[in-house]
């Protein structure tokens, strides 16, 4: 059993140093080095050609749109764009990699030396970017016949090359020291910011659940005043929440080893989505010598300064600017806005407001009831089966007095259960506030005649006693009456 320290104790003793490598699939129409389609989810091996299958004699041609997208990412990350850059071959054997080398970049990446600022708990952290480079994705191997779907015990391995050759951008940070106990949150905030930046550029749909954004988390610990420790690289970290968990787990695991006087091995580990653990990969991988050398099949690229400046001028509003604008238009305080950002709810709230809700209503639902539900299930907010338009409709029904908060929560149950839009759910489940004053008046009359003493008190000017009659009416209407309306009817009748 892996020994783990208590997290808080671990970060009291050790200082974590983070490093993040992020792969993002670009959503160009065609692959990195050939004309094949990149659409996700096609029948296996239908989006392939001599080039991406590495048939004898086939040659790559670089996709200009992918180069352009990478330069945009570099610019948005405040990078220097290389005047002279080229591809390199990373040589290793793997059956889902058709050429048995990956065309990537080595010593001359397209973009270098940038940064991203993120705010966590009111403090700003600068995450420095070492490089942004362009490469190609591999195919996917499916192991059939084993119990686990893993290679061990499988009787057959099937390879789908549809993904092979899809352009992939790799963004590598420099080591990030100084985050202390907030290392997991900073790692998450950086990944979220990166995702939002890339999304704002329109160069990738950045869907972590489809693997179009994948993270490798590097982490080391050191005692204050000591040099940096040995790092581990955790792969397979494929959601924002997992980024946070992976960092936290490694801090706990490594600190326990260090406390016991053991060494940390520089190794590749794999994140386990179900348990939140990281597990050591094959130690053989450490010995891999990729034998990088410049790709002789592709010409050197020299992006002209005019082109770079044209792309810079064409950059859209970046997330940080946009958040400042939205915060002002939503009239939120810094802390409240930070909560929105941390909950990854900016887009959701913006869409909800766009669908007609008031900003305060939208914030209320997403940060309140819906966040609570997401947390209960360990889901991201965006993964909830409710759309911003549905939230806007829900808030509209509340504003119109057709739902009260209690009924609205029941409506949310129905929407999340897939029963349709809020209006449908309310109708099907019979959850609307009773706004028929005739029916309400009858219920009030009934309550008055059942409670003559209370009625007298109210007639005598003790309005607070109305609560008893309201309670009776609510009970009679199964909570579907609007309390304010009931109170008004009672007071009208008894004064």
């Amino acid at each position: 059993m892996t020994k783990l320290n208590d997290y808080d104790k671990a970060v009291e003793t050790y200082e974590p140093v983070l490093g993040l490598e992020t792969h993002i699939e670009l959503d160009t129409n065609t692959k990195m080095f050939c004309g094949c389609s990149t659409v996700f989810g096609a029948e296996p091996n239908t989006q392939v050609c001599p080039v991406c299958l590495a048939l004898p004699g086939a040659l790559p041609v670089a996709n200009r749109a992918a180069v352009e997208a990478t330069i945009k990412i570099g610019l948005a990350l405040n990078c220097h764009i290389a005047e002279w850059t080229r591809f390199a071959r990373k040589n290793y054997f793997y059956p889902d990699m058709p050429k048995n080398f990956q065309t990537s970049q080595y010593e001359e990446p397209l973009c270098e030396e940038g940064y991203v600022d993120v705010v966590v708990e009111g403090r700003e952290y600068r995450v420095e970017i070492e490089r942004v480079h362009l490469e190609e994705d591999t195919g996917k191997t499916l192991h059939v016949g084993g119990a686990t779907g893993r290679i061990h015990g499988a009787t057959e391995s099937l390879v789908d090359y549809n993904r092979a050759g899809i352009p992939l951008v790799e963004i590598v940070t420099k080591p990030v020291p100084g985050t202390g106990a907030l290392a997991p949150e900073v790692a998450r905030a950086y990944t979220a910011e990166l995702r939002d930046i890339v999304r704002s550029l329109g160069v990738s749909d950045v869907r972590m659940e489809q693997g179009s954004l994948r993270c490798d988390v590097n982490l080391s610990l050191n005692l204050p005043g000591d040099g940096w420790g040995t790092r581990t690289e955790t792969k397979n970290v494929n959601s924002l929440r997992s980024v946070e968990r992976a960092v936290r787990y490694e801090v706990r695991r490594q600190s326990a080893l260090l406390d016991a006087g053991e060494r940390i091995f520089q190794e590749t580990r794999h994140f386990q989505e179900t348990t939140g653990e990281t597990r050591a990969g094959r130690s053989k991988e450490e010995a891999t010598d990729y034998r990088y050398f410049p790709e002789p099949d592709l010409a050197v690229m020299e992006p002209s300064r005019a082109w770079v400046e044209e792309l810079r001028a064409g950059l859209p509003e970046l997330p940080r600017k946009r958040r400042e604008r939205l915060q002002a238009s939503w009239s939120l305080g810094d802390k409240e806005m930070q909560s929105v950002v941390n909950a990854d709810a900016v887009d959701l709230i913006e869409s909800t407001v766009a669908a007609g809700a008031t900003p305060s209503g939208a914030v209320k639902w997403w940060l309140g009831e819906l966040s609570r539900r997401a947390n209960e299930n360990g889901d991201e907010l965006g993964a909830l089966q409710i759309t911003p338009a549905q939230v806007a409709q829900l808030q509209g029904m509340v504003d119109d007095g057709r739902l009260n908060d209690k009924l609205a929560r029941q409506v949310i149950d129905g929407v999340l259960a897939g029963e349709g839009d809020p209006a449908d759910v309310a109708a099907k489940r019979g959850l609307e506030v009773v706004s028929d004053t005739g029916a309400l008046e009858a219920a009030v009359e009934e309550a008055i005649s059942a409670n003559p003493a209370v009625a007298d008190k109210i007639r005598g000017g003790t309005h607070a006693a109305a609560g008893v009659l309201i309670g009776a009416v609510m009970k009679a209407t199964k909570g579907q009456a609007d309390a304010g309306t009931v109170r008004q009817i009672i007071l009208d009748k008894l004064s």
Binding site: L55, P56, G57, A58, D289, P296, D297
Partner: protein, 501 residues
């Protein structure tokens, strides 16, 4: 000369266009010749009689219908088996690709088809174009028509022998370190390595990406030049392709045939003459006689110094194997070709490994190991990196030389065709065959080899090297030399003995 197979491609083309011969007659003549002598010579790995005749019939129908046809339409051709041909087996003479039928055409295959040249078949070669004798073919030995106890050169021994034995009027070769020129020299045929990047590599099974260059094999300069123009030119599918007009090699070959080289300066490389691995005396004698002819035509001989050429051979044997070790990684039994050990007992890694063990021959393995070593961590700077620096120096030597001269000349290869097995035990002795041809590949410029005489009864070639995109100069000088001869050397080759004798 009465036989169809004795005619040059240009003559055949004119005969077909002007109705004196049909393409079917011409194509049949060469197919019959293959039937008659290839059992002995073994130049072809695959013959496509039906495909070739189908193209020939189309051309004949067009001509009968009065449609316009272009250069070499209806003239048959042989293609080195390293060039991918849709629907025709393509193996690079390796067991690892045995039985593979390509689903696509190389750009030069497309251009040959667009030119309506009937494809006779695919020719033998050293496996993956690695070798200088064609002895490293996984399938068969090709014999030199001049002396069947001797090698036909390599790696393109099949294409050269096919043209020398008149089984094809022209052929396609590829040249990474001399694989068109050296076989040309030792079989008495004409071979041209065009400027790197002027002929598309798309669909050429890669050996060394930064060096591989497809080019023409023929009996004389004019035929080679016409074929050169058919296959050359920019190809957007090859990133290293040069987007510029093809040098006017046909015009140059015709101009050279006038025999006037007045004002042309030809460089001789001081370091070639001084080398300890200098050419055989008989080769030098034939070469010097050719130089005398060029001087008579008005050429001026200028000595140039190219000090880095001394390092060309080791430089080549670091760069080419490095690239090859990576280029050949794709042959793993997963997607096509040979698969060994897939019996449920072996892991995926083991199947890949067993496939490569069984599928590659000794020279290919030697070069993969050499290249893997040269690129490995801790050695890459000392080997691959240093070789790239020397390559730059070699380019600079050429550039400086071409400030003084129009072309550089040398023997094509230091020795005549050697006997089978003679250089199989010592790879370095084999590698020396390309001593004079390799510098041009490292530079990227054009060079041709033209037959200039015999030594010990075997052909000797003169190499003419031009500046990058100056292919026309090389053709002009070579054609001028041909004009001094009463007959093409290729026409004096002995008749191969039919099979079974």
């Amino acid at each position: 000369m009465s036989r169809i197979i004795d005619k040059t491609a240009a003559e055949l083309s004119a005969d077909i266009r002007e109705g004196r011969l049909t393409s079917v007659e011409v194509t049949t003549a060469f197919l019959d010749r293959i039937d008659a002598v290839d059992g002995t010579i073994k130049a072809f790995l695959h013959v496509d009689r039906e495909g070739a005749l189908a193209t020939a019939r189309e051309v004949d129908a067009d001509i009968a219908a009065g449609k316009e046809t272009f250069a070499f339409a209806g003239v048959p051709i042989a293609i080195k088996d390293v060039v991918v041909t849709k629907g025709l087996p393509t193996t690079a003479a390796s067991k690892i690709l045995e039985g593979w039928i390509p689903p696509y055409d190389a750009t030069i295959s497309e251009r040959i088809k667009a030119a309506r040249m009937p494809i006779l078949g695919k020719t033998n070669m050293d496996e993956f174009a690695m070798g200088s004798s064609t002895e490293y073919s996984a399938f068969q030995k090709t014999l030199n028509p001049w002396d069947t106890g001797r090698i036909p050169g390599g790696s393109g021994g099949g294409s050269a022998a096919a043209v020398a034995a008149k089984m094809a009027p022209v052929a396609i070769g590829t040249d990474t370190g001399g694989s068109i020129r050296q076989p040309g020299a030792v079989t008495g045929t004409f071979g041209a390595k065009p400027t790197y990047g002027s002929n598309s590599r798309y669909g050429l099974i890669a050996f060394s990406s930064s060096l591989d260059t497809p080019g023409p094999v023929a009996r004389n300069a004019l035929d080679a030049a016409i074929l050169h123009e058919i296959i050359s030119g920019y190809d957007p599918r090859d990133s290293t392709s040069i987007d510029a007009p093809v040098p006017p090699v046909v015009r140059a070959a015709r101009a050279g045939a006038n025999g006037d080289l007045a004002g042309v300066k030809l460089g001789v490389v001081k370091e070639f003459a001084e080398g300890s691995d200098a050419a055989e005396p008989g080769v030098i004698a034939a070469y010097e006689a050719a130089v005398e002819q060029l001087v008579k035509l008005g050429a001026e001989i200028v000595e140039v110094s190219c000090p880095s050429f001394t390092y060309a051979l080791p430089t080549y044997y670091l760069i080419a194997p490095s690239e090859a070790s990576s280029n050949l990684a794709r042959y793993d039994g997963v997607r096509y070709g040979l698969r060994t050990g897939d019996d449920g007992e072996h892991s995926l890694e083991e199947v890949m490994s067993l496939t490569r063990e069984a599928g590659f021959g000794p020279e290919v393995k030697r070069r993969i190991i050499l290249g893997t070593y040269a690129l490995s961590a801790g050695y890459v700077d000392a080997f691959y990196g240093k070789a790239q620096l020397v390559r730059t120096l070699i380019k600079q030597d050429f550039e400086k030389a071409f400030e003084q001269v129009d072309a550089i000349i040398s023997p094509t290869t230091p020795f005549i065709a050697f006997e089978f097995g003679e250089r199989m035990d010592d790879p370095y002795q084999m590698y020396l065959a390309d001593l004079y041809t390799i510098p041009t590949n490292l530079y990227g410029g054009p060079a041709v080899s033209v037959p200039v005489g015999l030594s010990e009864g075997m052909p000797v070639g003169l190499q003419v090297m031009g500046p990058v995109m100056g292919d026309d100069v090389a053709y002009r000088v070579a054609a001028a030399y041909e004009s001094t001869q009463d007959a093409l050397l290729a026409d004096t080759a002995p008749e191969p003995e039919p099979e079974g004798k």
